[in-house]
Amino acid sequence: MIAARFLQVKFLVGALCIGLIALMAIGGDFLTPHNPDDQDLLASLQPPFTWEHVLGTDQLGRDIFARMVSGARVSLAIALSVVLISGVLGVLLGAISGYLSGWRDVVLQKIVETFWAFPPILLAIAIVALFGQTLPNLIIALTIQRWIPYARLARAQAMSLRSREFIAASKIMGGGTVWILRKHVVPNLIASAIVVATFTMATAIIAEASLSFLGLGVPPGTATWGGMLADGRSYITRAWWLAVFPGVGIFITVIGLNLLGDWLRDQLDPKTDLNLV
């Protein structure tokens, strides 16, 4: 009873957080008259909570809210593409690895082990640093370790699916490997992949912001949450709002995703004790 109520709260708060950020990203242009890149040096470092600049202005007089809107778009777009690419890649490789087993499985597991041996973020930093700071490189850098959780889960599930009757039946009826993978294995992996996707999106948003914070994110000139935080750091004693608000944006997005992920996991797997999560 209490558990069920707690679960509902998780969903509500999570959905509220994500709804808020999505609204900001999509409808931002209607919410603020300012352009994120318009400088106004006479209005620099304006404190927040005024009608003119709801969240204040930065050192160049740019409107923080307008820049937050731009940052939300960048964050969500990058994180979504990372989640989609790594999801498709991870589920397919995991399904193949688990369903076929044998040498393909061994090879794939070695690859997984190798990628997993790098500390997170480090590999991403190395890739952006060596290959250059472009949007495709950034997405590759963020994807390179994120397909692994999908692959691991998909592999484990595909292995257990292999011995189920409906797979055996379709083999007997002459179903080819590709057909079985497409019709029977992969569709059964989607539900848990969605749960992984929610958590992956949360880590992707933090990682993207971390890279932007280190000056390794999207090409300079675009307003991002991480980049705003890095700029705001130098003005921390004079203008707290520069660094605080972008962090609030990241925090709300990530906490929303984590709560929704928890909720989804509980929905899909009734066996887990709801109290525990």
């Binding site: 707690f6 190798t114 500390p119 190395a126 914070f213 280190l214 972008p246 962090g247 990530v254 709560l259």
Partner: protein, 339 residues
């Protein structure tokens, strides 16, 4: 047991080899000629040719790879382009700072996380439990660079309680040369310095720990709740053992395995966290060195730090696995030799 330990240690070699392959591939796939990546931007043609010969880049690929492996095995990463110093000595100088920070942060996270988890499990379903789980989700969701900035804002800028950067004020006397300031100052009886070292550690270590406390608390709680439903706990209760004795002698030892597993998994967060946290708090460790290397396009230094960080990460993971031998009698007796 010895066999299992040796097997685990032996399993590291192929991983290290594959990681070396990965780094080699990265360096070679990167756009541009590897020699010009390794040379500074204003290097002349002669310098590039010299480097090409030095790194054997004029040789066939397999020879290059052999030389690369040999260099890495000797921890010879060449000379930093920016600082003109051997990369390995630069890393060696800064490694103790990173290790000290990571160790203190991990200790804080483990102690706070396990305590919070125990409290939440004992008060299951009560308000305290709810507060702990809210703190847990919040801690995981707040990016460390933001938490660090908030800490600086509150404890340094507003309250003026704690320093916001560096390991020690410039010119503070410190004897010893291990590079571990806590150890050095204590071993030489410099208690004032020791105090200063602690104060400087406080904010970076807390920032680093903040992201881990929540998960550790959550796993501790669920492990304890699981163990709490076992029959031997009912027996202990029926025997009339005190609550404290049950928690200490029966609950915690049995929950130790999932707890140390999650602490092991958090090592990744810890290692990556040092990079960001060191940048925020101008901590003179390997993480901020990586940042300098990357911003200066210093490829030898970047490669060196990546290799050292990854080796450290792999070594810590092995240590965690070996720790299972200590805490789990089943693994020790060989029943769980699969690890």
């Amino acid at each position: 047991m010895l066999r299992a330990i040796l097997l685990r240690l032996g399993g590291v070699i192929p991983v290290l080899f594959l990681v070396a392959c990965g780094i080699f591939a990265l360096l070679h796939l990167a756009p541009g000629d590897a020699a010009s990546l390794l040379a500074s931007a204003d290097a002349g043609e002669a310098e590039v040719t010299r480097l090409r010969a030095l790194w054997g880049l004029d040789q066939p690929l397999h020879v290059q790879f052999g030389r690369f492996l040999l260099n890495i095995a000797r921890f010879d990463f060449g000379t930093s382009l920016r600082y003109q110093e051997p990369v390995i000595s630069m890393i060696g100088e800064r490694l103790p700072a990173t290790l000290e920070l990571a160790a203190v942060a991990l200790t804080i996270a483990a102690v706070a996380g396990v305590s919070l988890g125990v409290v939440a499990a004992l008060k299951k379903g009560k308000l305290t439990d709810g507060i702990v789980s809210v703190v847990a989700v919040a801690g995981v969701s707040a990016p460390s660079f933001w938490v660090g900035i908030l800490f600086v804002l509150l404890f340094s800028a507003e309250l003026n309680l704690l320093p916001s950067g560096g390991r020690l004020p410039f010119g503070t006397p410190i004897d010893g040369n291990s590079g571990f300031y806590l150890f050095d100052s204590l071993a030489h009886g410099q208690f004032e310095t020791f105090q200063l070292v602690l104060l400087h550690l406080a904010l970076p270590a807390l920032t680093l720990a903040a992201g881990m406390v929540g998960i550790i608390a959550r796993i501790t709680r669920s492990a304890l709740v699981d163990v709490g439903q076992e029959d031997f706990i009912s027996t202990a209760v029926a025997k009339g053992l005190s609550r404290r004795a049950i928690v200490r002698r029966h609950l915690l030892p049995n929950a130790a395995i999932p707890i140390s597993t999650i602490i092991g998994l958090e090592l990744g967060v810890l290692i990556s966290g040092t990079i960001i946290v060191e940048v925020i708090f101008s901590w003179p460790g390997v993480g901020s060195l990586l940042y300098q290397a990357v911003t200066a396009r210093d490829t030898p230094l970047t490669t060196g730090v990546v290799v050292v960080y990854t080796t450290l990460f792999i070594a810590l993971n092995v240590l965690i696995d070996l720790f299972y031998f200590v805490i789990d009698p089943r693994v020790r007796s060989g029943a769980g030799a699969s690890t």
